[in-house]
């Protein structure tokens, strides 16, 4: 265990990877060596690196282990014939590992292409500038021509390497009949190079090779930063991927057991699901009773009791007892896949949204190109020297090259994303921040979003302490959330009670034998010794009984997310309307809505109804931010104008969200809106600065006073100005505190429906 062992929350639900899954996920390197990449989100410092690498290297069969701290991954090479117990070892060390998709492992090609471009153009910009300074300080004749030729030679690979990135993007845009920032950049750079080359062959005075190289250098820096930011957010999101079921143990008709991949499970197959595993496909319970945590699937906060005959949905978590299931759908037809299809159908604001920079470019490019063309025509009319007219026309293009625009927007967004990242909010891309500034409505899911989906015992005061200790001793043996809540709340008191035997009766509760007496903690009807069938039980609630006599009754509430009330108030104060859409019961929603002061809410909604509500809002001209975590929220997340999810959300929900917040507090929502709005303001300022710069620079260029020296100075100044302006954001957003309050308020009753 390292000094900085991670908190308990990361380990509780991971489950173990079976050797089968491990072998499926690893890829063979030849020579009998296989390599596997595991995500270990808990790794976060040098000591963690050391203990993980040491711990794994000591295992039999491990060839090497290397931690990547930036991506929170460890890659392990091991001998294929002897798969080492990687998961068990890492979990024991305090770093529970997760698998992630093979596709994500692929090295990011475009980042290294961008970095190569930055390197090549940086080298060229430096060297060409060296030669250009000599020219500007008076080199002439053969020396100047030589310097120009050398510059032309150095600038050529820049156009090929670095320019290629812009050419491709410009071509993509033009081919689809759109305009983006890269079109004027590509045209300007190409014409500048061609004109300079012509000048060089004619022994001319002015060549703009330095402008070409430094322009591409600056623009690529902006683009690389943008890419790194998105990459970081993406890999952090992937690192969180909870272990979704990739397969299950199947019972063959002859009684044999084998591991089946998710895609190979057919309806009619019989599956064994142990307690603590997620259900892989929609299925009917064949044998066994248990409780299922369905909160991610339908938003219900209360565990659901299942017995033979019940239909269970893919993605729910089996809490207490082993189940034998009969699959009733293939993975592709299961609930999860249905949600995915609804998400695709619901693709909302983000596909129609056009980035500010692209909208600016659509206006900007024609104006600039027309200005350059008019300059050319004007000079032709004035003195008829076509060489001079072309030179000045191209100088106009160079001086107006949208360096400031190309740099201004990404730099502001990178700085904003960094600010949010420090406060535990990850941003998928810059357009998300732009869209977030437009919203006027905020829609929250309840379970897992406004609340933590974690019950808390509320009537400790009215339970006798010795009874609480007995209940806690029993509850500590179970995974059931209510049992664990009891065990947690009694953690201060010594669990003195010694039972001779404790057994979990899945779906009903815990039973402990101490001498002659039998203690039961769980479903009221069962604990009192009435009928075992919960549906005929007249009593509801969670009881502790001794030989069938009631000793204590427990009541639970769902814990509100810290800061929820303040966040909602802040949002309402800023004039946005706040709604709550939940799949949970009316009673549970009413409690939460009252406590938080949410006036508009709807309960017991199906996933499709959530989407419909959001579509209705869009039809009325509202732009909505959806904050949700469950599988049932995923279609609504992608239907909304912009979306946000907590890090604990279901995988597909988190992947659909534009923002993911890592900390518990709900202040992340107003914080993200605040930072995005400041960023939006700075972007508009920067675009304003670029316009002012052009208003000053264009007349000078049209009059023919722009030499390469003037162009270099003007462009550097405007770039520095917008970068400096963007950096002001580093001081923004310090007013909102995301500190966790000492005590979390609680809401939402658990016990009414008869769960134990």
């Amino acid at each position: 265990m390292s000094c900085c062992a991670p908190g308990a929350e990361s380990g509780t639900e991971a489950g173990f990877l079976s050797p089968d899954e491990l072998r499926h996920a690893a890829r063979s390197l030849g020579n009998g060596i296989a390599q596997i990449e595991l995500s270990v989100p808990a790794v976060h410092c040098g000591a963690c690196i050391h203990s993980v690498e040491q711990g794994l290297s000591r295992l039999e069969g491990v060839v090497s282990a290397r931690v990547n701290l930036s991506t929170r991954r460890v890659s392990v090479r091991f001998r294929e014939d002897a798969p080492p117990p990687l998961t068990e070892t890492l979990t024991a060390l305090g770093y529970p590992p997760h698998l992630f998709d093979e596709a994500a492992v692929d090295k990011d090609r475009s980042l290294s292409e961008l970095l190569r471009g930055v390197a090549v153009s940086g080298f060229a910009a430096g060297n060409i500038m060296l030669l250009s300074v000599s020219v500007w300080s008076g080199a002439d004749g053969a020396t100047r021509d030589l310097f120009h030729w050398v510059s032309a030679l150095i600038a050529l690979p820049v156009l090929a390497f670095a320019g290629g990135i812009f050419y491709r993007s410009a071509w993509q845009a033009l081919r689809h009949g759109r305009m983006n920032m890269d079109v004027p950049i590509a045209i300007g750079v190409t014409l500048a190079y061609a004109m300079s080359l012509y000048e060089t062959t004619q022994h001319g005075d002015h060549a703009y090779f330095d402008a070409v190289a430094s322009l591409l250098f600056f623009l690529l820096i902006g683009r690389t930063l943008d890419h790194v930011m998105r990459d970081k957010a993406r890999s952090a999101v992937q690192g969180l991927a909870r272990l979704a079921p990739r397969g299950a143990i199947m019972v063959a008709p002859d009684g044999g057991r084998e591991y089946r991949q998710l895609g190979e499970i057919e309806p009619g197959n019989r599956l064994l699901i142990a307690a603590g595993e997620r259900i892989p496909v929609d299925a009917r319970v064949d044998g066994g009773t248990s409780d299922l945590d369905t909160s991610l699937v339908n938003g219900e906060s209360r565990p659901q009791h299942v017995s033979p005959g019940s239909v269970v949905r893919a993605g729910t978590l089996n809490l207490t007892g082993p189940l034998t299931l009969e699959a009733i759908a293939r993975a592709d037809d299961s609930f999860l896949a249905e949600m995915m299809r609804m998400m695709e159908a619901a693709e909302g604001g983000r596909t129609r949204y056009r980035r500010i920079a692209d909208r600016a470019a659509a206006l900007y490019a024609p104006v600039v190109h027309l200005a350059a063309f008019a300059t050319f025509l004007g000079w032709m009319a004035v003195d008829g020297d076509w060489h001079k007219a072309v030179t000045i026309g191209i100088a106009v293009l160079i001086i107006t090259c949208p360096c400031a625009l190309g740099l201004a927007v990404p730099i502001v967004q990178v700085v904003a994303a960094r600010r949010l990242f420090e406060r535990g909010v990850m941003v998928r891309d810059g357009s998300a921040m732009e869209r977030l500034t437009e919203i006027d409505t905020i829609v929250f899911d309840k379970t897992g979003t406004l609340t933590l989906g974690r019950p808390r015992l509320v009537n400790i005061a009215s339970v006798a302490p010795d009874m609480l200790a007995v209940a806690a001793a029993l509850g500590a043996h179970s995974r059931h959330p209510l049992s664990q809540a009891i065990a947690r709340s009694a953690s201060g008191q010594a669990a003195f009670h010694n039972f001779d035997a404790v057994t979990e009766i899945p779906g009903f509760g815990m039973e402990g034998k101490a001498g002659p007496s039998v203690w039961r903690l769980g479903r009221a009807g069962w604990a009192l010794g009435q009928d075992k069938d919960p549906s005929v039980s007249s009593q509801s609630g969670t009881l502790l009984t001794r030989d069938g006599r009631e000793c204590a009754r427990f009541e639970f509430e769902d814990v509100l997310r810290p800061g929820a009330a303040r966040a909602i108030q802040a949002l309402q104060r800023s004039g946005k309307s706040v709604h709550m859409l939940s799949g949970d019961t009316e009673a549970a929603c009413d409690d939460v809505a009252k406590t938080l002061g949410i006036r508009q809410y709807a309960a017991a909604l199906l996933p499709s109804e959530k989407v419909a509500r959001i579509a209705d809002m869009a039809k009325d001209g509202h732009k909505a931010l959806m904050v949700g975590d469950g599988l049932n929220d995923a279609p609504a997340l992608s239907a909304a104008h912009v979306s946000m999810a907590p890090a604990t959300a279901a995988d597909i929900g988190r992947n659909a969200a534009d923002f993911v917040f890592l900390r518990e507090g709900l202040e992340a929502v107003p914080l993200a809106i605040d930072v995005s709005e400041r960023a939006g303001k700075l972007i508009r300022q920067n675009i304003g600065l670029a316009i002012v710069y052009n208003i000053i620079a264009i007349p000078i260029a049209i009059l023919g006073h722009v030499t390469p020296l003037v162009a270099a100075i003007a462009m550097s100044c405007s770039s520095l100005l917008v970068i400096g302006n963007a950096l002001r954001l580093l001081r923004a957003g310090e007013g909102i505190s995301v500190a966790r309050p000492a005590a979390a308020p609680a809401m939402g009753h658990y016990s009414e429906g008869g769960a134990r």
Binding site: S57, R66, L146
Partner: protein, 59 residues
């Protein structure tokens, strides 16, 4: 001005050498874990050697 015949190629050569060094570092994966590189200097070298690898390519 004949000194330029040496100086320009020399300047370019230095630039190219550093460019090549950067591209090599990029390709060999040294830019893949910038956070980790900063932390690793705090690990005792003997203990790191004991963990059996210092190969930056392997990531």
């Amino acid at each position: 001005m004949s000194v330029l015949v040496y100086l320009i190629p020399a300047a370019l050569l230095f630039g190219l050498a550093s460019l090549a060094a950067f591209l090599w570092a990029l390709k060999s994966g040294q830019y893949e874990d910038l956070d980790g590189a900063g932390e690793r200097i705090l690990i005792d070298s003997e203990r790191l050697a004991a963990s059996g690898n210092g190969d930056p390519k392997h990531s």
